[in-house]
């Protein structure tokens, strides 16, 4: 396969995915329409996570703090200072980026299991901060943003972020932006260095690359996407609470990425979508629905350790980035 063929296929796959998601808004029932909005936002979070775990080989168990940084950064900005939602989104995204860079300066002194534990500890501290400063954050109960606070005027047109159609397309825009960023990153020289670090950090260093510098960049970008997803989530759905900073929100992106395909650009959306509907369908049939999810994950690890997109890449479409 020539380079041009490969580029065309990559474009067709990812462009097709965006087009399908765009078309689905006209076909989905109302309930699934809202679910897809949420899934695209959470898939953005998972893509941010995938930059770190999938392409750089750093397993974090503390990404909820970056998602929550975006959530609280945007949510509290609107709640307390009546910030313009666009400015709140920028602040939330930046909060994820800055927090990730700061945590990276410390956590990246460790590797492997130690990195996993350090990120988990930082995330737990962040979770407790949301509870401890209850007077401001309202802790576990959280804060709600009014419908009025989630709207603004733009060129004589009122933008209402609670409007389902607008919200869907904004979520799709966010997801598409993250998809393009990830594609550009993994196909760029920087992305190749990240993959080299994942495969053999020592050798990469011997080739003259400052591995820590690249890992910090990966963690910061990962934090940026996680923060952007958190900021979008609170602006679209109007609630910020400490449950989003809890450990399960660090585990979820790991599961989504593992299910969809670790180290693939399309894996996170596949994993997020499948996990959501797996739970949804199981829930309709039994109260102990998490058992089904658990069994599915065990089977997946046993038979498809590379996840869905990863398996497809390994067996059939080796060109999937």
């Amino acid at each position: 396969m020539t380079g041009a063929d490969k580029r065309l296929r990559v474009l067709a796959l990812h462009g097709g995915l965006v087009l399908v998601l765009f078309a689905l808004q006209f076909l989905l029932p109302d309930y699934d329409h809202t679910n897809f909005t949420s899934i695209m936002v959470l898939a953005t979070y998972a893509m941010g996570y995938n930059i770190l775990v999938g392409y750089t080989g750093l397993l974090s168990l503390g990404h909820a703090m970056f998602f929550a940084a975006g959530l609280y950064g945007a949510g509290m900005g609107v709640y307390y200072f009546a910030l313009h939602p666009v400015l709140a989104f920028v602040i939330g995204s930046s909060a994820g980026l800055i927090l990730a860079a700061l945590i990276g300066l410390i956590a990246l002194r460790t590797t492997g299991v130690a990195f996993m534990i350090v990120t988990m500890m930082f995330a737990q501290a962040a979770f407790l901060v949301t509870l401890y400063f209850n007077d401001v954050t309202h802790g576990d109960e959280g804060l709600t943003l009014t419908q009025a606070a989630r709207g603004f005027d733009l060129l004589g047109w009122h933008v209402d972020l609670t409007n389902p159609a607008l919200r869907y397309n904004l979520a799709l825009s966010l997801f598409t932006g993250a998809l393009v960023l990830c594609l550009a990153l993994v196909r760029s020289p920087i992305g190749r260095v990240l993959i080299a670090i994942r495969e053999n950090e020592e050798r990469t260093r011997m080739l003259g690359y400052d591995a820590r510098h690249y890992k910090l960049l990966a963690l910061s970008l990962s934090g940026l996407l996680s923060g952007a997803a958190g900021a979008a989530y609170v602006l679209f759905f109007g609630y910020v609470g400490s449950s989003f900073a809890a450990i399960q929100y660090s585990i979820y992106p790991l599961l989504w990425v593992l299910l969809g395909g670790v180290g693939t650009v399309v894996g996170p959306i596949i994993g997020t979508l499948l996990m959501f509907y797996l739970i949804e369908i199981s829930r309709d049939h039994m109260s102990s629905y998490m058992i089904v999810v658990g069994i599915m994950l065990v089977l997946l690890v046993l038979w498809f350790p590379k996840g869905i997109a990863g398996t497809i890449r390994a067996r059939w479409w080796g060109w999937i980035p």
Partner: protein, 434 residues
């Protein structure tokens, strides 16, 4: 020139008698066909669909089990008595996993997939607060049974009501006069260091000071704590009353360690039954609670003052005189909370009948009908007791109980007045647009 053409009748009419009769016959045949009958009667006899947002899983599952039993019992009674405004009610249950994100999704699912008329039954505050924005956006009347102050505080929206259970601010405030008058005025509070505990800290501190009392110490327990021994030495020696509201799996350890710390010489102890809802007071380790006092919203143990409506409520839900399931004496109910589901269903009934609600187009009228309510008399529809309702705050206020643990059972020693729990705030949801 305008020449009037008769609609039915004359030669030049638009519809002849014959065609009118044909149309009428065809329409009658269609209306009598099985499929159409359902549609033709939709406005009058289609069941009223109520979305029940239940904590079947997650931290609220213990409460959820009893909320479900209570709801099913009330729905059965309402249907046996002819339903609501002549329509049977259909309870559609969805588990929210006691999770705020899922809660919002469940509200969405009720509205757009199940096409329910109203949603009710949410208990845990963070789930209520996470779900309420979506209910407001969807203009879905949302009746919560949470006892949180979130509704009355004004932080939610016009579509959210709490007509079946008094809020925590009122509950806590109503305890202070009796505690100050009977147990002591120097109080040390032990509470979980998150929003639920902070509500108790803030509202009780203010209420006890209003009674001339004072707070000796505030001991906030971090949510991750598993042992409490290091906190008890921080209780000042001159403390007359310990006020505790620990909840969750650590509560048995908390009580056991408090007992070991104080031994037989202890200050007066007052707690909120939230700590021990669905927990058997005869559980090992709880012996230390004998002689201590608890707030109850509805007395778990049927005492000598049991009302006929409480007897009726227990019988219909399947609760024995000790607050346990009639089928399993070890299955302890959440008696101080679950009546809220029952009373909320009857409030919905009252609102539908008062507003003439028939379909989603009448939701505004229904909201206004609930806001116009002022009181609920005690009776089989409100077995916990009479209540007042503040339409501006969307919140009801009722009597509370203080019970003493004696022989590992609770005996009521005091019933508050509704006025004991009243407070001032400027919440007015009626100013928000529908």
């Amino acid at each position: 020139m305008n020449q009037k053409t008769p609609l039915i009748g004359g030669k030049k009419s638009l519809i002849t008698r014959r065609s009118a009769l044909k149309t009428l016959s065809a329409a009658s045949a269609l209306a009598l066909s099985p499929g159409y009958v359902r549609y033709a009667q939709a406005q009058t006899s289609e069941p009223l669909r109520l979305g029940f947002q239940l904590h079947s899983t997650g931290i609220g599952a213990g409460y959820g089990r009893w909320y479900d039993r209570t709801t099913q019992a009330a729905a059965k009674l309402i249907n046996e008595a002819g339903g609501i405004a002549g329509r049977q009610i259909e309870i559609i249950t969805e588990d929210d996993g006691t999770d705020p994100k899922r809660g919002a999704e469940v509200v969405e699912k009720f509205a757009s997939q199940h096409k329910v008329d109203f949603v009710f039954g949410t208990l845990f505050s963070h789930v209520v607060i996470g779900s309420a924005p979506r209910a407001g956006e969807l203009k879905m009347p949302y009746f919560v049974v949470s006892e949180g102050y979130h509704v009355a505080s004004g932080m939610l929206n016009r579509y959210v009501f709490q007509p079946g259970i008094t809020d925590v601010r009122s509950q806590v405030s109503s305890m202070a006069p009796w505690i100050a008058g009977n147990l002591g005025k120097k109080v040390t509070m032990i509470f979980p260091d998150y929003a639920f505990g902070h509500d108790h800290r803030d509202f009780f501190s203010a209420a006890i000071e209003k009674q001339g009392g004072s707070i000796a110490a505030l001991l906030a327990i971090p949510p991750t704590e598993t042992s409490y021994t290091k906190y008890f030495p921080q209780i000042p020696a001159d403390t007359e009353v310990i006020y505790h509201v620990m909840v969750g799996p650590g509560v048995l350890t908390f009580v056991k360690e408090m007992g070991e710390h104080f031994g037989s010489k202890r200050p007066q102890i007052f707690g909120f039954i939230d700590s021990l809802e669905a927990v058997d007071l005869a559980s090992p380790g709880l012996e230390f609670l004998d002689g201590t006092y608890f707030w109850e919203a509805n007395p778990r143990y049927a005492g000598p003052d049991q009302t006929p409506e409480d007897k009726f409520f227990r019988e219909k839900v399947g609760v024995d005189q000790n607050g346990a399931s009639v089928d399993d004496p070890k299955d302890i109910s959440t008696y101080s909370h679950m009546f809220g589901c029952w009373e909320t269903l009857y409030t919905i009934k009252q609102a539908v009948e008062a507003s003439g609600y028939k379909s989603a187009a009448d939701k505004g009228a229904l909201i206004e009908a609930v806001e116009a309510m002022t009181a609920f008399p005690a009776g089989n529809e409100h077995p916990q007791g009479d209540k007042t309702f503040n339409g501006k705050r969307h919140q009801c206020y009722g009597h509370q109980y203080i019970s003493k643990v004696e022989g590992q059972k609770l005996s009521v020693v005091h019933k508050t007045s509704i006025e004991d729990g009243l407070y001032e705030n400027d919440t007015d949801y009626t100013k928000q647009p529908l």
